[in-house]
Symmetry: C2
Subunit: 324 residues, 2 copies
């Protein structure tokens, strides 16, 4: 995928050359650090691609793309504090390396920088871009709060879980596409269809992450299998199993959820055995497919030649078909 | 001052009716709480007043005014975490009442809400408003970082201190005025002169806060006198005293700065005696006057009838002449 690789280069170069004040270093070093330790840059790549889809030069969409990536990393920096996460992309998190205060203030600064990139856009598209960005940013915060609430709560439904991942992660993919389309002066209804496409793809991606934790190839996937199970993470798979299970299976799941000391491998094997018995794998694949189909349906509603939709389809498929 | 009181009413009504999502309550309750426990609303009042100064209806400037007040309260919510402050306006801080995570995420949400109010402005003024707001927000973060750095550092100069308070608190007053002028389609050079007026007033206000901690009337001022001295706060007065003092006086100041256990009243009396001996009171009044004069000079550069400048002059004087 030539387009994607060159988009990545463009984005990474822009991120390396962010305009920082000379001092205080405490504010910008953590931002440069977090951006430098990687990330797949999928969101900004989608913004550039969406602009090209509607006939615009991708350079025109670069400020919006950078804004999206800065926002994404801001949310990671603050979420990592709240989640007390020690590692991000295999490296120390910012709050571990520099302390919580630095992670709060650097994160704030990063969010404001995102808005500085929004402000670089032409006055003719500024109002819709700012509105999309604001609405999305608010939703991501709500999603994070719901995620924290659900962690502590019993009886989270699948509908609640899907709504949470829609807000916390999927709307940002939708906004990434919609903003690219908006920069390229796409018709509003087309930009909105592209938004829905991105949101549904985002839900499918998150379901796939849940899926791969259990059914992924650990060598290719790069994470140990069953990490979510070991940590009692409320994934689609666990919630589906709790919904389907009766009697002995339900007791066994709850037994493992309530253990404070356990052998990780034993717990993972026991839970996976129940998942397999209940057909959770097939349900999850089906749900992913439902959201993928909805995404493709939204894409099909957009009134441009199919050839212009090809690059997005290829990215979606490359991301959805990995390692299954 | 009829205008100010009615401005306050307008602003407080708008803040009481902020549009919040139905859930999650964890996100918006802290915002409503912080806004409800008071604050003088000086910044948004300045925005409305600046719009009227240039012939606009104050209602037109309400979204910008609310954005400024939300931003101010966002920065208080996050700064209070960083400063480990137990109280704000005499009430528990948000992080004390709900925990650090809530204060981080509610603060983020509040910052995003501020931008949602910016987005309510006419497309014709959106670009300059967003630019002013972004630049100001970035400066406030830089000021907060410098403040934290200077707390731990020896040998902060008066120039550094003034630059820190300029960034941390004064630029927001400048921006409050500039945004009101911008909404009212003032000429850019007039809006910029009003910005400089606000920044210099802001520095004068902060110097006055430093002054009143020592030379204020504690009954009227509502704080115990000498709190800054007791806490070794690097105020203009302390930095000036350190600059002026020699020999025995300097040793005595440093002696008190290094004490970990002390009688508060004894420390305050000793330091105030040195301030008095060195003439720190007069130096501080002079510095306040310099910044006030600079503010008035900027105001005089604005090409509108003096009668239209009167309300701002009256507010400035009412704030500057309190209790001296």
């Amino acid at each position: 995928m030539r387009e994607v690789r060159s988009h990545l280069d463009i984005i990474n170069e822009e991120l390396r050359n962010l305009n920082f004040p000379q001092e205080p270093a405490e504010l910008y070093e953590p931002i440069q650090y977090l951006l430098a330790i990687g990330g797949k840059r999928i969101r900004p790549a989608l913004t550039l691609l969406a602009a090209e889809m509607f006939g615009s030069d991708s350079a025109k969409a670069l400020p919006a793309a950078v804004a999206i990536e800065l926002f994404h990393n801001f949310s990671l920096m603050h979420d990592d504090i709240m989640d007390k996460a020690p590692l991000r992309r295999g490296n120390e998190t910012v709050h571990e390396k520099w302390g919580v205060n630095t992670a709060i203030l650097s994160g704030d600064f990063m969010l404001i920088q995102a808005y500085q990139y929004i402000a670089q856009n032409d006055a003719s598209v500024l109002a819709p871009l700012l509105t999309i960005f604001n609405d999305t940013a608010a939703k991501v915060c709500i999603g994070q709060q719901l995620d924290m609430n659900y962690e502590k709560s019993e009886g989270v439904s699948i509908a609640q879980y899907i709504e949470m991942i829609r807000l916390k992660t999927a709307v940002l993919l939708g906004a990434a596409l919609q903003m690219g389309a908006t920069v390229a002066n796409a018709e509003e209804k087309d930009a909105q269809a592209l938004y829905r496409c991105g949101v549904n793809l985002g839900i499918a991606f998150q379901l796939q992450d849940d899926y791969l934790d259990v059914y992924g190839d650990s060598d290719k996937f790069g994470k140990r299998v069953g990490g979510d199970i070991s940590e009692n993470k409320k994934t689609f798979l666990l919630l589906k199993a709790l919904e389907l299970a009766n009697g002995k299976d339900k007791s066994e799941i709850n037994h493992w959820l309530n253990q404070t000391e356990f052998d990780s491998q034993e717990k993972i094997s026991a839970i996976v055995a129940i998942y397999n018995k209940l057909g959770v794998q097939a349900y999850t694949k089906q749900e992913m497919e439902n959201y993928t189909n909805m995404a493709y349906r939204s894409l099909s509603e957009i009134n441009i030649p199919n050839s212009q939709k090809e690059p997005l389809l290829r990215i979606a498929e490359s991301l959805l078909l990995r390692n299954k």
